[in-house]
Amino acid sequence: MTSEELQEIATTEKEKRTEYPHHICVCTAAGCLSAGSGEVKKALEKEVLESGMKHECHVKGVGCMGLCSAGPLITVDNTMYRDVKPEDSTDIVRSLEDGKPVKRLRCDTSAPFFTRQTKVVLENSGIIDPERIEDYIAEGGYSALLSVVTEKRPGEVLEQVIKSGLRGRGGAGYPTGLKWSTVAKAQNSGQKYVICNADEGDPGAFMDRAVLESDPHRVLEGMAIAAYAVGANRGYIYVRAEYPLAVKHLRTAIRQAERLELLGNDVAGTHFSFKVEVRLGAGAFVCGEETALINSVEGKRGTPRPRPPYPAQEGLWGHPTLINNVETFANIAPILRNGGEWFAKIGTAKSKGTKVFALAGRINNTGLIEVPMGIPLREIIFEIGGGIPGGRGFKAVQTGGPSGGCIPADHLDLPVDYESLAKVGSIMGSGGMIVTDEGSCMVDVAKFFIEFCKSESCGKCVPCRVGTTHLYHLLERICAGDSEERDLATLEELCDVVRNTSLCGLGQSAPNPIMSTLHYFRDEYQAHVVEKRCPAGVCHFAEQEVKA
């Protein structure tokens, strides 16, 4: 494969597209699929065939379009339709003939949900067919990889990534360029690995799933560029077994890329080889922690190892290993295509680029969004997200999943970047954003997260294994109205111990949800402890039930 051949595939594919005057794209990512988009696609295909428009209209399945709450979504030429049912296919195909869009199904794409977004990672999502490599190549895919391996030295690639200011999208925000340089410099035995962390365990987060389902080649291209830059020749993608569609698309993508010699031995006729394998997770949240993930890839129990040595020095089977998140790798190809400076222009001084968030919970527009770093929370929730349904009041937004915190209404004007979120006691996390309204009890939410950490704790270190269990029992007692004032002090003290003495990130961040709710919603805790009453009416107290 040379650049010319790649160009040729792109041109052929584009020509093939112009053969059809009409295009119907049906979202077949998991969100819309569970709303019935599979049947919609079949009905549309049948309708097109029956009305004799086989040569004029092309129906294809594409990735996520973002507004999952209105699924199934489809686009017909440039019009987007929402809540489409199989019965609507007749009207839709008829609209192609007379040129008048079906009004009742129209989804307004001039709404803030669509206009306020900046798409880098999701630029192809909802446009290309994730199961066809040609579609990705037609959008400029793999051109970055080819120019890198044929024209650039690894040092030049590193330079671009450092210049871009990209930071790890897995949550902690470690500078990607620095991580790559460490692995590139590490020299023992010669063998190095690249691992893509697609073990998206945060409940309420589905960004990585959407990227893998909608545009798997983008992640592979990013990994291959990373491998070239750090000098690795093998890679693993560690993906959750709970995402069967993402696994299927990834496996197809790897096969296609190998057939075109874009992965595998001697990429593009050079001496660079890179072989990728998919590794399935098996439902352990702790495996998102990099050392635990390495153990799991090796086929062991997913327990973390003490660091240092960091994986960049001694990782998989003791060799230097680069581990990045799906979204981080997805940013790589655009950075090398457009240059590091281009990327550094988006975002704030310390947090560059865009971030994909999964909006969920009590909010009107749930789904996937990509926004520039530094955007205020208020804009995300009330403009893009469309506010809280049912006229209820906003209470808090939870970011970072079980490792993050709850941000109350006072901080809604906070810009979304790594530092600002850390300042108010939360974290950026991988990108789950869950909105709660007045009907949610914050003590109950904290209990939910600590229950999660308790059962996901791998049990290797005592502070996390025993600490989270005790935290859970304390909160359980508070929620049951069986607590005293001094329990709150114990709670705070225990949070501090767990945070400072746990071995890995899971334990160190497990108390975050409690500490942030205790800080911002202390009155709710007080009401539970002193007045034995739940302001939101979620918790049931034993005494009250007896009285009733």
């Binding site: 998991a30 969100g31 699929l33 569970s34 709303a35 999952c68 709450s69 699924g71 998206e200 365990g201 945060d202 409940p203 309420g204 987060a205 589905f206 799933r209 077994a241 709970e242 995402y243 590794r279 399935l280 997770g281 098996a282 439902g283 352990a284 949240f285 799991s296 890839v297 090796e298 086929g299 062991k300 129990r301 997913g302 999964a358 969920a360 919970g361 009590r362 749930t366 789904g367 939870q398 999943g401 789950g432 869950i434 709660t436 949610s440 939410v445 939910f448 997260f449 999660f452 791998c458």
Partner: protein
């Protein structure tokens, strides 16, 4: 089935295949995996019990998986579980005595936009309320 070159580090992959074929991991299957991959049985057992995805109990004929991710939790997943428990007397992780129905929970199936969600026989059903879930499950178990 095990074309990963019988490499020891493909243990989790092998366990996935066994569970897919038999529905659960029985001691015999574990012993077979350990022998074929030349991995100590203790390590196989360790991995099988560590990961939530693997089960060593035979599943019921039908499976109802209720998602208990954050979005589903806030939007009413506890109500779904309570309704199932009230109707069939099984808690999450249990199977009815006649082996017809298993109630399971998932950490998050990633369909948070249509919460609360349950997975019934591999179909993801969203925006559920307790009565609807019980009615849907009743359709299998009723006959």
């Amino acid at each position: 089935m095990r074309r990963n070159g019988f490499q020891g580090h493909a243990l989790i992959e092998a366990l996935h295949s066994v569970q897919e074929a038999f529905g659960y991991l029985e001691p015999e299957g574990l012993r077979f995996v350990a022998q074929s991959l030349r991995v100590p049985l203790s390590q196989v057992y360790g991995a099988a019990t560590f990961y939530h995805f693997f089960t060593m109990k035979p599943p019921g004929r039908h499976a109802c998986v209720v998602c208990t991710g954050t979005a589903c939790y806030i939007n009413g997943a506890p109500g779904l579980l309570a309704a199932m428990e009230a109707k069939y007397g099984i808690k999450p992780g249990e199977t009815t005595p006649d082996g017809e129905l298993s109630l399971l929970t998932a950490r998050c199936v990633g369909s948070c936009s249509i919460a609360p969600v349950a997975v019934l026989e591999k179909d993801v059903i969203g925006k559920l309320n307790p009565a609807e879930l019980v009615a849907r499950v009743g359709k299998w178990v009723g006959q």
